[in-house]
Symmetry: C2
């Protein structure tokens, strides 16, 4: 493909914008050796230019587009549409609708981003509800987990759609691996769970084939990271609780580990010997590497970076956008939907 | 209180019974210095006596009660009642019903234990559904989390009951600490979550007072272990997923940490210096210390040990039974129910 990958970046969203967003852009420009992309940077032109100078960015791969206003963190989804027009976030999505960007990225207000993305890009006809997907490490590589909270209550059709969308995302990010779907449940036997889950499981079993995804049945919480499946499908309530619980557990353990490894002179000496191995360990689990939740089911992908992220984390979310477009997510989605809707 | 604490123990339940159960009993007899208890051991008398000799147990605090049969792992809750009569598990609960034991403990088939406990002991009149509660560490001490999977679908009344039962359990185990209840939700703001959660939250706010429990509002998954609240209330589906996800995450991290700390000569040397601190760290997170889920809402408490547990883990579940009775759980439950039913 010779077509350039075009990414719309809201430089003004998030707690540390625009310093961390612009520094993240700098890292991406340094690390991506392919140079087959354009970064469309949305925000107040004078501020953006000041930061570009501050971080000494010299590149012909960026394109600054002025937006005078910014979506406030206090804005609610109800008032978002009225108050968000021509903000940096709005202009990103509009740029994407006009075909000038392939994907949008913002670290701003999540609720507002979801509402205006849906309003501007519109839902795909074949999809019942949009979903919020995230990446999560497993023993063999990476999981796609969805829905992470866009839909608090779901029916079996929603879960089928999430399986299709999630495996399309997985295949665009990891084209060499096969997509293996599981439904998150309280047991692995067929009789476990709600009637809604049983109905979804039966239909996923019918749809399971090498072309779209292999359905592996139910998975329990303790096996999410086992690598048995790599697309974990659940409703937005359960997905949100599961992911946040995993985050909290990881934080609890690493905090206590750090305390143990610095509590006296001996443990501090031990750090000298294990420094590089512990760095590698920390690097593997670094949550900044998984920064970025992806809205799926709209006529184009939108990525939400964590609001409090630093520049390394923001770099990873730009890289995620690049990979999603490079892996041709939207074609994968259309192929998957074609399979299941004609089944 | 001069009355002896009497614990009914199913010695035949679980994958490693009766070796690990009897060795666990031995540890309890060695470690409990109060000696204000009787352990009623249910199982085949000749096998139990053989193990008692094997582990060199000499104590006048044990009482062996013969039961010729054992609940099979293949038994389903449907056929349990017909096939479980006079098994070691059944006889434990019957002993408790007859007032000869205060609490029952089994590492056997969970579904069967729940069904026969409910059938023999009966539900408390004031409680809508029984719950399965568990212990989980937090930054300041310990959480009680419930329901862990007894009830896949719940209404707001069930959640109110769980809050009452969970805080009674907490107060019986940790009499010096105050009971702080939170509802597990996808956000901390009042507008977040399902209508059912909003209704439960409103009623819990009305019931909040120093005498039974303080209601702290919603809690998100990443704050379960923060210590902000110590009784985490949720439906059985979400609770099961959250706890198992936390287990899986902890296992994933410790496995990768172990790999990092043994990967070369330097890291192995580092272990010499940090050995005792890492042992303390491991000890704090040792899942065997939290072994034992508690059935609440029946006319008497029943504890389920993990089926694959070793003798140290089984020891901890006997100790949990002892503490529950010592802390007078059933009086705490009645007091809490009185508060809220008369509110």
């Amino acid at each position: 493909m010779s077509k350039k990958i075009s990414i719309a970046i809201d430089a003004m969203g998030g707690e540390n914008a625009p310093n961390k967003t612009i520094e993240g852009i700098k890292f991406f420009l340094e690390k991506n050796i392919n140079k087959d992309f354009t970064l469309n940077i949305f925000g107040k032109e004078d501020i953006i230019n000041e930061k570009i100078r501050k971080y000494n960015i010299k590149s012909n791969l960026i394109n600054i587009i002025n937006s005078d206003t910014v979506v406030s963190d206090e804005e609610t989804p109800m008032t978002a549409v009225k108050n968000s027009k021509n903000t940096s976030m709005w202009n990103c999505i509009k740029h994407q609708l006009d075909g000038k960007s392939d994907i949008s990225l913002s670290a701003g207000n999540t609720g507002v981003l979801l509402v205006i993305s849906r309003m501007i890009l519109k839902m795909m006809n074949e999809v019942s509800k949009p979903a919020l997907a995230g990446l999560w490490p497993n023993q063999n590589g990476m999981n796609v987990v969805l829905d992470l909270g866009a839909n608090i209550e779901c029916n079996d059709q929603n879960l089928i759609d999430f399986a299709e969308l999630g495996s399309a995302l997985f295949k665009s990010l990891f084209p060499k691996e096969s997509a293996k779907v599981s439904l998150l449940n309280v047991g692995s036997e067929e009789i476990k769970g709600t009637e809604m889950l049983k109905a979804a499981s039966k239909r996923l079993r019918d749809l399971s084939n090498e072309d779209n995804f292999i359905y592996n049945g139910y998975i329990e919480g303790n096996n999410i990271m086992s690598g048995k499946s790599n697309i974990i499908v659940t409703d937005g309530f359960t997905g949100n609780i599961a992911l946040k619980t995993a985050e909290g557990t990881a934080k609890f353990i690493t905090k206590n580990l750090k305390k143990s490894l610095t509590e006296n002179l001996f443990t501090k000496i031990s750090l000298l010997f294990s420094y590089f191995s512990l760095k590698k360990f920390q690097n593997k689990l670094d949550p900044r590497k998984y920064n970025g939740a992806i809205f799926l089911g709209l006529n184009g992908p939108v990525v939400k970076s964590h609001g409090g992220i630093d520049s390394i984390g923001f770099y990873h979310s730009i890289d995620l956008c690049y990979k999603i477009v490079k892996g041709d997510l939207m074609s994968q989605v259309r192929k998957n939907l074609h399979h299941s809707k004609s089944a």
